[in-house]
Symmetry: C2
Subunit: 198 residues, 2 copies
């Protein structure tokens, strides 16, 4: 069991067959999530490949999440929220907070991703588009996008099952300008590793 | 004026203010398109940042196309087709053709992108999600995606205006399995550099 403070990040190692349960303790927190292959981080969870394999904008319970080499890295085994999980928008970064007029040094998911992996000695040359769990990006007219507060409830959780040996990176998004985290207050989430038996 | 054979690729240099007109000669050809900053190719056209800035799934005439540092790299100045241009699906790659049971060595947009830049001495560590001009990926129920033949007509063209000094990479998609290129026959396209005056 681990806790990730609001605005912070963590990289979690999973052997093939293991899973991680991620709990949205307060229900209002978006968690930007990446996955890289442990043996070769140049293979990573790719939302543009996953959309192509699912023929869908959003992942649903039971869906496999694919890598940039079109192999399944994770299965979204459980999703108690039943809501959309954005995988259309880039994570927040220092340039976004600059765009919003924030002072330099605002915590951001991009740096969180890089530093979480770096703490385990893993370097990766770019930042893939994450899956933003519980982030509510409604689509209208089959074209237009919006940013709205999350629809998830306190205690909602997902379970991600590893189809290969991987690192999963969670960033409890530090966004405090737009309403993606509800009342614009980043809050803690928790996670637990589950064995191969579930 | 240059011609790109069906299934081939080309990197085009644009100074700030210059533009390139890309002509869909036969109307049926999808062109996967990337853009990297000439001074630093780690800044590239990012569809996930562009969607966030446009709040839209597809780019329209007049839209600015943003980089992963949230600066505009290109403007889609003209688009005679008025149709959707996919930026949801990864480009085709060797793993996709393997998935379809093709023999090794099938031309693919991923290798086309890397080799077009390599011919100019530019190395880039990963392959961003391109904009797939004229590729017809309809969205239904604000969630589901499909792959359909293009709606563009012979002679349709786009003009991309450079907001910085950039390389634009075009790949006349070699796909001959799915109907993205209409009758599954990759065909040539042409391009022309336009000066700052348009």
């Amino acid at each position: 069991m681990g806790e990730i403070a609001g605005g912070a990040s963590e990289a979690v190692h999973l052997s093939r067959g293991e899973a991680v349960r991620l709990v949205n303790t307060h229900g209002s927190q978006v968690v930007d999530t990446w996955c890289v292959h442990a043996a070769d981080p140049s293979e990573y969870l790719s939302v543009e490949h996953t959309r192509r394999m699912l023929y869908a904008l959003f992942p649903r319970e039971g869906d496999m999440l694919h890598s940039n080499r079109r192999t399944p890295l994770l299965t979204l085994e459980t999703d108690t929220s039943g809501c959309r999980h954005d995988m259309l928008f880039a994570c927040c970064d220092s340039w976004l907070y600059r765009f919003y007029g924030c002072a330099p040094g605002h915590a951001n998911c991009r740096d969180n991703f890089l530093s979480a992996l770096a703490r385990h000695g893993i370097e990766i040359g770019h930042v893939p588009n994450p899956i933003n769990f519980w982030m509510n990006v409604p689509v209208s007219d089959n074209e237009r996008l919006a940013l709205e507060p999350p629809l998830s409830k306190p205690g909602d959780f997902i379970v991600l099952r590893a189809m290969a040996e991987v690192w999963v990176v969670f960033s409890a998004c530090p966004m405090d300008i737009t309403p993606v985290n509800g009342d614009r207050t980043p809050r803690c989430v928790s996670y637990e590793i589950l064995g191969s038996s579930g």
